[in-house]
């Protein structure tokens, strides 16, 4: 075969990678083999730029049942149960067709979870967009949110948490990361390891079409719109719901050896991974695969990314019962091959062999690139920015600034999004989205609960990736602790630009090291994750975005907290008094500056603060807690006022003193390890005593109640005013004819 630069570009392999394939095979690859190598050796499947970096994560711990390597990770949540979870990106497809891109992202992550034998129980989504003032952003935003809701609502899995962040670096390349949490009986956890020579390979679900051919490859190159030639995948959640029920039922039978979803790189990656994990071979006849279209080539069948398909390895004697289960659910299935003993993935089209390569060549032998990371000078300059150049806010202006920040897209209410997600189905949702820093779901039949959240402050990661990585983990864990749960483990999605750029590679290395440092300090291992590189448009990379998805556990789900002040108590700040304007939302939103170093983070103090607050909640001493994040103390207090419809009468004199008397820093500066709690009058002294004992700094802020948020001598606003600004953050553009813009094709 003529291997031109064009052919290699089609499969996104370099000339030296091609030479390596020829060397390993001892011959030229066939066209189908070349396509399969292209997919398997893409960043998306092969992790060729990220593998060495991923090794730095701590992945073990007392609760870990399954670490990275399977379709999803699993942790012990007691009562013989496991929480199974993972996060995954669907960035590139969403940039092209936001609704379907996001919808199929949800579909994909859900398949990863039930493939493990877990019932999908909660969904989360972590989204990054350009500024809402741009029509393209609004198109992407409404499409993505529509797709996430459209798919998850139809499946009947509640979407309970997530996070959204807007910044111009995402304008051409939005991030859509979807996370799913499932619950399984530990003794029913399943793997995707094929075994047993002669066992049958069954493909079930949708017919195969020319959808997203080379999607995995396309997710691994810059500028997806230009390079994407396959047909856009359209999801069918209705079919996926039937697959969930059928597959979970199947796993109750003794007939299934392995189960693997078809995700990126379709049949290619699922066959290769099943074989390689089980160190067996697999033979597949593409002619046995039911097609949606006429005239598909073996290459197209092997690389199609048609959604809602599963591969199941079945014992021959069980085939009939397995097919009966599929028929019960109206699912179409085909026996397309069998397990062999030679370790090869052999693809035939009838009699003709079109590919025959040892599975491990696709996986273990995928080249790995360790690169040199170098920090960009420009970032160093930004980080060194002198805050003294920024004039302090006056007391007179402070209320206006507070309202402006509350109305900003990165801080204001997400209710216009979350109300379009079904979050009450499955009747487990104890703390709904928005009401607290994390969502809480109960684990039926146990008395316990789970808390879930995604997080990452990309501005921190941009200005200092190590610190940003540590903050992402610490903040995620803090959000979990704020509802009273013990963080168990995280999953993560590393969204970065082109790793071949030393500046981007530096960001990756540093962010992962920072995350690992926080994971180690907090005792939270990484049990699963996903890497999405080449997130660039034009020549701008996105802000580095190592999204953290976290799951925590509450022994007693009745003892949980949320963020709204109830009134009649005291508001107390637990944690450091000093905040920093560096890398803050305030600096960006009010002064237009992405600058300064992110706040320092003392991981030991972080551990103590979280533990103390968790313990107070578990002991039933408090049930209101909220961490301070973007926008600082004033925003966190305002949010608690808004959620509880209760005011606060506070004095921040002591805090001003530790913040160089700077009002902006005191009100809107950011800091790690800070949690605001509300405690009733009767319990105040007990709680204060406890906190004093633990040696954590605490600051009594004032009394909760009434209808106003007042800071003595500084600001005085009604809670209604706060709520009005906050509520309008993501919708105000709709009222403005200049910026409201309809969504094509969705009229």
């Amino acid at each position: 075969m003529q291997v031109t630069a064009e052919v290699l570009a089609e499969v996104a392999l370099t000339e030296s990678e091609y030479a390596l394939i020829v060397e390993k095979l001892g011959r030229e690859p066939t066209p189908v083999e070349l396509g399969m190598f292209g997919a398997m050796w893409s960043e998306h499947c092969g992790y060729k730029n990220s593998r060495p970096i991923l090794k730095r994560f701590p992945t073990t711990g007392e609760h870990v049942l399954q670490g990275p390597g399977e379709n999803a990770g699993a942790v012990d949540i007691g009562d013989g149960l496991a929480a199974v979870f993972k996060i995954e990106s669907h960035n590139h497809p969403s940039a092209v067709e936001p609704y379907q891109g996001a919808a199929t992202g949800v579909g994909g992550i859900v398949r990863d979870i039930f493939t493990m034998g877990a019932r999908p129980t909660a969904l989360l989504n972590s989204l990054r967009f350009g500024p809402l003032t741009e029509p393209r952003t609004r198109y992407l935003f409404s499409g993505v949110v529509g797709g996430i809701g459209g798919y998850g609502n139809c499946l009947g899995i509640p979407t309970v948490s997530g996070d959204i962040f807007f910044h111009s670096s995402y304008a051409g390349n939005p991030l859509v990361n979807a996370m799913c949490v499932g619950i399984a009986r530990q003794d029913q956890l399943t793997t995707a390891e094929a075994s047993g020579v002669g066992n049958l390979v069954v493909l079930v679900g949708a017919d195969t079409g020319r959808d997203g051919i080379q999607g995995a490859t396309f997710a691994s190159v810059v500028n997806p719109e230009a390079s994407h030639r396959g047909v856009i995948q359209v999801g069918n959640p209705f079919l996926e719901k039937l697959l969930i029920e059928a597959c979970l039922e199947l796993l109750q039978t003794p007939h299934v050896v392995a189960m693997q979803d078809l995700g990126a790189a379709g049949l290619t990656s699922s066959a290769v991974e099943c074989a390689s994990r089980g160190t067996v071979g697999i033979e597949i006849d593409v002619d046995k695969v039911s097609r949606r279209e006429k005239g598909m080539t073996p290459y197209e069948v092997m690389l199609s990314e048609s959604q809602e398909r599963m591969l199941v390895v079945v014992r021959p004697e069980g085939l009939e019962s397995v097919q009966q289960i599929f028929e019960y659910y109206d699912l179409h299935s085909d026996v397309i091959g069998h397990v062999t003993d030679d370790g090869n993935v052999r693809i035939t089209s009838g009699e003709e062999v079109v590919a025959n390569v040892p599975a491990r060549l696709y996986t273990d032998e995928c080249p790995v690139y360790t690169r040199e990371g170098v920090e960009k000078k420009a970032v160093q300059t930004l980080r060194a920015f002198e805050m003294s150049a920024i004039p302090d806010v006056s007391a007179q202006d402070s209320a206006g600034v507070l309202l402006k920040l509350l109305k900003s897209p990165n801080i204001g209410s997400r209710e216009s999004v979350t109300r379009t997600y079904d979050h009450t189905i499955l009747s487990n949702t104890v703390v709904a989205p928005i009401k607290a820093d994390a969502a809480v779901i109960r684990v039926k039949g146990t008395g316990s609960g789970l808390a879930v959240k995604t997080d990452c402050n990309p501005r921190y990661c941009y200005l200092e990736p190590f610190s940003g990585g540590a903050h992402a983990v610490a903040e995620a864990a803090r959000n979990i602790s704020c509802v009273g749960a013990q963080p168990l483990a995280i999953t993560n999605c590393l969204n970065f630009g082109n790793p071949e750029d030393p500046g981007v590679y530096y960001q990756m290395q540093q962010a992962v090291d920072g995350m690992s440092a926080a994971c180690n300090a907090l005792g939270i291992p990484v049990i699963s994750g996903n890497v999405s590189l080449y997130n660039e448009s034009g020549d701008t990379a996105i802000f580095p975005t190592p999204t953290v998805g976290i799951v925590g556990r509450l022994d007693n789900v009745d003892r949980h907290a949320s963020m709204g002040f109830q009134g009649g108590g005291a508001a107390i700040l637990v944690g450091p008094g000093e905040a920093s304007l560096g890398a803050s939302e305030y600096l960006e939103e009010v002064h237009g500056k992405t600058a300064g170093a992110p706040p320092e983070i003392d991981l030991e103090l972080e551990v103590k603060v979280q533990r103390a607050v968790r313990q107070l909640i578990a002991d039933g001493l408090i049930n209101v807690a909220h961490d301070t994040s973007e926008g600082g103390l004033a925003i966190a207090l305002a949010e608690s006022c808004i959620q509880g419809r209760a005011g606060l009468e506070s004095d921040l004199g002591e805090l001003l003193a530790v913040n160089n008397q700077r009002l902006d820093q005191t009100l809107f500066g950011e800091a790690a390890s800070r949690i605001i709690i509300e405690v009733s009058r009767e319990r105040e002294s007990a709680v204060l005593d406890r906190l004093h004992e633990s040696g954590i700094p605490i600051w009594r802020l004032g009394a909760t109640g009434g209808e106003r948020f007042r800071v003595t001598g500084i600001l005085d606003v009604t809670v209604d005013e706060l709520a009005a600004s906050w509520s309008a953050a993501l919708t105000s553009y709709r009222e403005d004819p200049e910026t409201s813009q309809p969504v094509p094709g969705r009229g």
Binding site: G149, G150, N153, C154, L155, G156, N236, P237, F238, L239, K241, L242, Y328, Y329, D330, T418, R419, T420, Y421, D422, H423, T424, I425, L426, S427, N428, T429, V430, A432, R442, K444, V557, D558
Partner: protein, 237 residues
């Protein structure tokens, strides 16, 4: 008094789990999921058609499900006067099947809406509302994209005259107010019944409100009503 509930499950239903749990955990009554391919409902005393997206809600919500094999038995069950409750997608199926009057259209906002709402009980003549007080306000979740109840003016007048409006969206204190109508339903209607009263459909989800831990247990007021109604029938017999 024990009653056996059936939860009719179509491909794409997704509220069956909650319905089963609500009856089993909330009411402590025997309950069974009945797959759409079955044809007999003789062993049951009450039917629930749960929420979800039967057949993906493709074409129109409920349009395809109404032709599922089990529907003949549902029609027979309804005709025999036994209690049938259609919730959300179940309500849509019943209107498509002609077992309930009117139709459910895309929400006025064109968005899926998940929220807790209040509904006011408009009639206690149905087995699903008999023990409630007239005007009693219930706090229930909604989660739907196609919940805008529609009836042409003549039909609407007839429904009102014949006491077939079962629930209306209201404020917490039971006032009608357009701002609390979540989907643009005509006349703030959240639920209706057939002329006999034994078949009721509503958009809110009583089966997701069976425990205060998850936001409230007002749903049990509806789901348990048939027990009392059943008791009356049993003692009357």
């Amino acid at each position: 008094m024990s009653m056996r509930y059936a939860v009719i499950t179509f491909p794409g239903s997704n509220g069956e789990h909650d319905a089963l749990m609500a009856v089993e955990l909330g009411l402590g009554m025997p309950v069974e999921a009945v797959w759409y391919k079955e044809t007999s409902l003789d062993r049951f005393d009450a039917l629930l058609l749960p929420g979800g997206f039967s057949y993906g809600d493709y074409l129109r919500p409920g349009a395809i499900a109404r032709f599922a094999p089990i529907m003949a038995a549902v029609e027979e069950f309804a005709a025999s006067g036994k209690p049938v409750l259609g919730i959300c997608n179940g309500f849509q199926v019943l209107t498509e099947a002609g077992l309930l009057p009117g139709a459910l259209l895309r929400n006025q906002s064109l968005e899926f809406r998940c929220a807790w709402v209040h509904v006011r009980t408009e009639t206690t003549r149905t087995p699903w509302t008999a023990p409630l007080a007239d005007g009693e306000v219930l706090h229930l979740p909604i989660a739907h994209g196609d919940g805008r109840y529609f009836a042409e003016p003549d039909l609407l007048n007839r429904l009102i005259q014949k006491d077939q409006v079962v629930f209306r969206y209201s404020t917490e204190s039971g006032e009608r107010e357009s701002s609390v109508n979540p989907n643009g339903s005509v006349d703030d209607i959240a639920g209706v019944c057939n002329s006999a009263g034994n078949v009721v459909g509503l958009m809110p989800h009583p089966e997701r409100a069976y425990d205060t831990l998850i936001g409230g247990d007002d749903g049990l007021r509806i789901l348990s009503s048939v027990l009392r109604a059943g008791m009356a029938a049993a003692s009357g017999a």
